[in-house]
Symmetry: C2
DNA sequence: TCGGACCTATTGGAAAAACCAATGAACCAC
DNA sequence: GTGGTTCATTGGTTTTTCCAATAGGTCCGA
């Protein structure tokens, strides 16, 4: 059975005539005639009684019409559904992030722009996020780290200075700015080796010929924060990630360009998937707006 | 949305791959690829994640698949239904007849051959039957009368001698055969003017130059039968229509070829409608079988 | 009862779609 | 690696769909 034939039949039955059906389907009337006739001939049934210029469903036709109506209605439903997803009025975007800091702004903007899209956020380190991108369990990920993998597409999003933060009793506690050289020999609490912030900081001091004393490496931002609050050492953090604390104080490093860059990542081959493109477009807009605002 | 695309999508989702889908649908694999791709491009959605040689439904794809399954299943139902009607395993045939006499044999044979077809029988006179054929309220009609209407197709079915029947006290009651001339001046109980039996009989006696005395014309076979039983006159009837009665006796007319012919009729343009053709074919078979049996 | 309006059927040819064979590229199991 | 399997791409062919023109019929009102 041909679907065009079924659609023609349905229109004729619904509109009560071949000509009326042809108008509804935007085709010529002979087309309708031949489609319905082909359907009748193929199954060797009569679907309509042609009484002069009136057509009346036969019993067979009535049975078919009931089924056809359900099919047509389901097709409309399918089309609606696809339009809804394609038009970004429904859908589900899985977002990965190494921490909520960079991602929240984007998630909030995305939610405002596409209220119908469900958002799920997975938090994990950069390596985990890269894996999840590759196995489709997240659609986009906001990372500081840049994956060196041709399968992953990366867009720089925002640049954040790395600041030093110290306990209130530390000698830097009264300072607003320091120079890098002043950190020589400082006890420091650092993140684990893979941390992008740590990498940026260590690159900077190595270039400046400064050496520090890494007293502790901890695998969590909050743990570092607490350790510094207790005076175990001083810490470094991306300014956007810094959480105020009564015992803590931040200090700007003036003579070095230490920063981390947040990137939006996705599977390269999915760069143009509807939802993913929408997320990147929105990130692009946020970036531009911030630049304009800062002028 | 194109139906071919939907079918391809459904097969891929159901079979778990493009190649598997192409085998099920008996088309080449490139066809499937292009159909699904076209569907995705048209609505700007992703339906499958292509993970190497494995394909996995996206959320959008899952939603569409559920709808597509229902559509495909309804299409199978529609096709089944049409095959059932086309294969004469279901359907409804409206049969008209002037009396049950000629029709019952055919109805019985038809029911045996096509047990799934519902039969409705409408009884009425020839003129009513002709009208009902023309307005589609009966599909076929078994009549003695031949309609002189080009829109009605007619097939002769069986020829039945017209016999005379008399009351036990009549002078013919002891006879097996009479000649037509012997009926000169007889009191006769006849049917109404339109009766085919009456017409055949009157034509025969006119040709033979015999005149009779029509004492009564009654519009019902049963009424004539009763009138003759009471001795009001003698009657004529098609032998197949004759119903025995203790007070009645049938007499054959040997020197005249008086008979009626049962015809099967239908709307000429519907001669090849499946059910109608089946009825005619069956009538043809019955006729042939009777001729063979009579040799 | 006659003609205009309206409807379905038919036909031949044009436009569009579905389709395939061949081939490429990526992946997986051995 | 290597062969077997899978999806993607390309071009050209076959099939389907479609239309314009037209015929033949019914219906309705003058």
């Amino acid at each position: 059975m041909n679907h065009t034939q079924l659609r023609s039949f349905h229109a004729v039955a619904a509109e009560g005539g071949f000509t009326a059906a042809s108008r509804v389907l935007n085709v010529g009337q002979p087309t309708i005639t031949s489609q319905v006739k082909a359907l009748e001939r193929h199954f060797d049934v009569e679907l309509f009684h042609r009484r002069g210029r009136r057509v009346i469903l036969t019993e067979t036709g009535r049975v078919l019409f009931r089924i056809a109506q359900r099919i047509i209605s389901l097709e409309a439903e399918a089309e609606d559904s696809l339009n809804t997803y394609g038009g970004l009025q429904a859908g589900h975007l899985h977002v990965g992030a190494v921490g909520p800091y960079h991602a929240t702004e984007m998630l909030s903007a995305f939610r405002d722009r596409y209220p119908g899209i469900k958002l799920s956020v997975t938090v994990g380190n950069s390596m985990e996020m890269a894996e999840r991108i590759l196995d489709y369990s997240v659609d986009v990920a906001v990372l500081a780290h840049v994956e060196d993998d041709p399968r992953i597409y990366t867009m720089p999003y925002s640049r954040h200075p790395v600041v030093v933060f110290v306990n209130k009793s530390h000698r830097f506690a009264k300072r607003r700015r320091i120079r890098l050289a002043e950190m020589e020999g400082e006890h420091m609490v650092l993140r684990e080796l893979g941390s992008t912030t740590r990498l940026a900081f260590e690159t900077a001091i190595r270039e400046a010929g400064v050496t520090i004393d890494p007293v502790m490496a901890i695998g969590s931002r909050e743990a570092v924060w607490l350790a510094v609050a207790r005076g175990i050492g001083i810490g470094v953090v991306s300014d956007i990630e810094y959480i105020p604390h009564p015992d803590l104080h931040t200090v700007e490093v003036v003579d070095a360009d230490i920063y981390t860059t947040a990137h939006v990542n996705c599977l390269a081959e999915r760069r143009d998937a509807r939802l993913i493109r929408a997320f990147f477009d929105m990130a692009e807009d946020l970036k531009t707006r911030r630049n304009v605002a800062s002028i």
